[in-house]
Symmetry: C2
Subunit: 681 residues, 2 copies
């Protein structure tokens, strides 16, 4: 898993320091290509046997700046060879038995750093490129790929095809993603959702009780902070890539669809498991990065309409730059939000009625919690329950009036979506449909995402984020119970993890009564109690009664949820990376928080937010409206066949290989290197 | 481990809401005693068989306030009985065959909340109390203890004696504590200390590679945020207690030494393992909470001189209120800082020369890294290397001039301690001494603390905190290698964990050149790059060269440490709970950071800190000078015999039981309940 493949060691600091150029971190020519010759798949890429991928080669010639080269004329005579193990390095066309694609040329520009951006001094780069589409390496082992350009310059990429089990351990995979969920958030959710008496929890999160515990590293290929697109791609494909990229390595061309693609676990499941069923569930817009990454391939996660189109049609009918031979083949279950991408309007694909397009291909459409509950289990089912992201657990259950006057009906008729399901409703129904639709013994794969942990963390609405996290935990618990009931628990690998974190933690308690009554920022801050003065959680105390560490009270939503959401003494928490904001540590009873608003000077405090609170200046650039993702490793909880492999500390990409192993996807059915003969354009 | 022992369930919210009193979280009458009758050990306390503990009973009568009772006269006729399993409840004196102690009486006062504090309206409480000293329960099982007072009022405490292995799995235990260390910090340390190429780390932390992974909950008995005193007590004794308490439950009396005590792993190791050796190593003042908690018993962690006295003498010679029959029996190794507690001065115990007192009892004294290296292995060794806490790894290795002009010599002569060892030097030497001094097959127990992860997090000096963390990781790695070399690796249980967290995380990168050059807070904040603009770690790049993701450079301190500490592009990180401060995201080259200074209006920005940075207002009360501890679960890494038990999610107290199991401390050698007949004061 770790190696020094392709890396040159040097203890000679002095030798290297002769390269005394200005370093450029914020803006780079092309993230995963520090040299002027670029190879995708980049160095350090792994595959399972037979996993499809494109090869993109680029040679860059910057016209100016610190890397100015060849008077801006890129070498068009570059060569590329691939070597298996200690064999000879064969030309790529011969190695894969594919036709040589046409040379492509383009140019792009970038700023070398913030000073250059302020001075509007961009650097133009001219590019010569080739792409080899949909090849694969069926045999486990080490491969060395060498791009030679500008005479003797070389870029070397070391690839490994991991020896992957051909025997399946798990019939089904239920993969939960708590978007943005960290252990600090789980700790805070435990604090408000479970009763502690004298330092001993009287009940635990379901996540606390899973069989195996791991931690995974979430960083991107070319930045240490990730977004949800490339982190989901890593989890589903075993490939690191760049921010905003869905199952492609980011090349330098302007086209968002011609970047080199790679195959996802959902596509591999479809190819390997005839009669298997596939489900995608999210509380977000269903074309949002985490669900989209199961099936979509684009440099730009914002291509939402195309994501929906691809769920239904794969690459069929898309522009030839999209060329990709495999697909998710119409998932059996698609449940989430984002109705604006379905009813005919400017945001739907080609402006057409995508609901009709799905129904024309045999989908049953459900648009409310009630319809969901009564839907037949034997049909492919599209469930779209609101425009935009679904309503939050706290709003659906504690402040249901906040679902009104949102014009969020999935029909697009401007009425309100007040009958929305939660993650648990969607996931349990999805299990039933997948179970009914999968051929006997073929099994199913489902991804279920608690998306708004992340979305509510972004807007610093910690109460709602923890509500979503508790709902995820409740969903995992209910899923285990349901699988046991239908006799599939011991056949199902269950994995719960996150795609990245936010730097949230609880640092004390707040006396919201005192905070609201005090005058002046510093006086209000006295309301925050730390250490002994943090006190005990009042969320597990009956409203209006004293805090008490001897009584367990069960609230209207059952155990595992707060008994009250509006205690006088709340938790005080937050993140290190913030926009300007006002804090009062109270739950936002009127709907999700909006901490900052746009102004001519960038984002400033929202004057309507927390009007009784104290002002806190931000730590992020003025163009950041909200909190941002963070670096921390995230936890991995697992249970069921194959879950032992999910113990310990590993990289996000390893999740894919562990799932592939559990599913026995190592059997390619093919004996030699494979190209589809349909390269380039 | 989890149960509903002693907890009353109620789904009747309405019934409970009749108790419509003002809740008081910030200030409470007595933390672990929500009723007017208090039992210590409190409800939910566990023991290993034969573990010594005191029983303190209190009956409270507040004179005023929301709990005013009996006109302020506490019931002196309370009774207390203990029941094993489903047996009868026997009076405590009979149950333990001890004399009935004398009744004690005192009073104390407290503020019910911040409003009461502002109005200077304190509540006086009168107390009647008894204490039963040094009893124990030799038989595993459930016990119910009932205090009856004020007629029919009862406080019930449920205790469990856990069935603990009598067979030892581990001969030695090496217990590392990274004070305040969270997984987010480990992630950040990995980022700066290890090279990543295209999203794949080319080397890993030692912590990443341990055999078993767990997570533990750190909260106090009566507050959800802990300090290092009660969290260390939990780790070493299996008992939750209150902030600032070392191996006692906090009673309401003013005396810091008469609180009910309980026995530590170090004391138990001494009692059970004849000829075993004991070591205490810390980079802090050696009487600081984490090392102190191995041997000391006091309500107030600030009683530093007494902690040192107790290391040497146990309770012998201390005031009778201290009564405690067991001790650490002069640890074989005591290495750390805090020389001001040793040379004769106002801070040493009784003003005497404690160096001499230790030497008089056979200790070899070492006071520098050089002396440490050449010290004989066969003598009890006291190593005190500076006044206050030891110098930080970053200062010792990167900015050694910062060790000058500190007047920190351990001799107290006002010269500088420039020849200080680090955690690795101390730990490896301690292993050799323990190994030499332990009787054959008796084994040893050592706690080694990286204390300044916490101390540097408190002052928001993230670079130094991560330096300390990397030194801890390097120490764990070197200890494993050393144990393997001397043939003890497979006999040694190694556990690495923390006592609590700080809410630190990395949220981006900072262009420190741009930040410094820009004018105005908001313009400077543009230097913070998030997501793709966070870039790659420059800490693994040779100084002066370009960021590069193809080359591994080994710096002067070897792999596992940054190649440079002062790159132009740094990580940008922070915590959510802060005092007012100025940020520039640069390392503090002149020594540890001081973010805030005292003023007539509480703590304000230190005008000398980060003068080229931008101002950020705080989120903590104006009386907080620095960052504070946070809630998050912390990681547990383990290896060796018995380490399988450290997998998954558990409570901090469980660490003690897992270590006791590995050491086979379940054999009490006694057949019935035990009291030492020396009750009262």
């Amino acid at each position: 898993m770790l190696s020094t493949r392709g890396a040159k060691f040097s203890a000679l600091l002095a030798l290297l320091s002769v390269l005394d150029t200005a370093s450029a971190q914020h803006y780079r020519r092309l993230g995963a290509c520090p040299k002027l010759g670029c190879v995708f798949p980049p160095d350090q890429t792994d595959f399972i046997p037979g996993q499809l991928f494109d090869i993109r080669l680029e040679v860059h010639a910057p016209e100016s700046g610190r890397e100015a080269s060849n008077n801006g004329a890129p070498d068009e005579k570059f060569s590329f060879c691939i070597q298996r193990g200690t064999g000879t390095c064969e030309d790529v066309s011969k190695f894969f038995s594919v036709k040589e694609p046409a040379l492509e040329k383009w140019s792009f520009s970038y700023f070398e750093d913030l000073f250059a951006q302020d001075a509007k001094q961009s650097t133009n780069v001219n590019v010569a490129s080739k792409i080899y589409r949909a090849v694969s390496l069926p045999s486990p082992g080490k491969y060395t790929a060498v791009l030679t350009y500008n005479g003797k310059s070389q870029t070397v990429a070391n690839w490994v095809v991991r020896d992957t089990s051909k025997q399946r351990k798990a019939k089904n995979v239920l993969f939960f993603i708590g978007d943005g969920m960290t252990q600090a958030m789980i700790t805070a959710a435990r604090l408000i959702g479970h009763k502690s008496i004298n330092g001993r929890y009287q009940s635990l999160m379901q996540l606390d009780q899973m069989e195996n515990l791991g931690l995974q590293m979430t960083h991107s290929i070319d930045s240490f902070i990730t977004d949800s697109a490339n982190s989901a791609s890593a989890l589903y494909t075993g490939k690191k890539t760049a921010v905003s990229a869905l199952n492609v390595w980011a090349d330098s061309s302007a086209n968002s669809f011609d970047d080199p693609k790679f195959e996802t676990i959902a596509e591999l499941f479809r190819r390997h498991r005839q009669g298997g069923a596939l489900g995608i569930v999210s509380t977000a817009v269903i074309a949002d990065a985490t669900p989209a990454a199961l099936c979509a391939h684009t440099r730009n996660r914002d291509e939402l309409a195309t994501v929906i189109y691809e769920f239904l049609n794969g690459a069929e009918g898309l522009n030839s730059t999209f060329a990709w031979p495999t697909s998710c083949e119409q998932p059996d279950v698609i449940f989430g939000g984002g109705a604006e991408l379905f009813y005919p309007n400017s945001k739907s694909y080609g402006g057409v009625d995508m609901y009709k397009a799905f129904k024309d291909k045999g989908y049953n459409l459900v648009q409310s919690k009630t319809q969901l509950a009564s839907a037949p289990n034997d049909k492919k089912t599209l469930g779209i329950f609101s425009t935009s992201n679904l309503a939050k657990w706290v709003d659906r259950n504690i402040f249901p009036n906040n679902l009104k006057n949102q014009k969020s009906s999935p029909t697009g008729d401007g009425t309100d979506a007040v009958d929305q399901p939660g993650l648990k409703d969607m996931t349990l129904k999805a299990i039933d449909i997948l179970q009914a639709r999968a051929d006997k013994n073929a099994g199913w794969f489902m991804m279920s995402e608690a998306a708004s942990i992340d979305k509510m963390m972004h807007v610093l609405d910690y109460d709602r984020a923890l509500g979503e996290l508790l709902e995820l935990d409740d969903t995992v618990r209910a899923s285990i119970e349901h699988l046991e009931k239908i006799g599939e628990l011991e056949n199902t690998l269950i994995v719960v993890t996150a795609d990245h974190g936010h730097g949230f933690d609880v640092f004390g308690g707040a006396d919201t009564k005192y905070l609201s009554a005090a005058t002046g920022d510093r006086a209000k801050r006295r309301a925050v109690g730390t250490y002994a003065a943090s006190g005990l959680s009042e969320y597990q105390v009956a409203p209006g009664s004293s805090p008490d560490n001897t009584t367990i009270v069960v609230g209207p939503f059952g155990p595992n949820f707060p008994v009250q959401w509006t205690p006088r003494y709340t938790f005080a928490g937050g993140v290190g990376g913030n926009p300007d904001r006002v804090e009062n540590y109270k739950i936002h009873t009127n709907g999700p928080r909006l901490p900052a608003v746009s102004s001519s000077d960038g984002y400033i405090v929202n004057p309507a937010d927390n009007t009784d609170g104290f002002h806190v200046s931000g730590t992020l650039g003025p163009d950041e409206a909200q909190g941002v993702h963070s670096l921390t490793d995230v936890s991995v909880f697992s249970k069921g066949p194959g879950s032992d492999a999910f113990r310990g500390v590993f990289n996000s990409i390893d999740i894919f290989y562990k799932i592939a192993d559990a599913l026995g996807l190592g059997d390619t059915g093919k004996g030699q290197e494979h190209g589809n003969g349909n390269n380039g354009h």
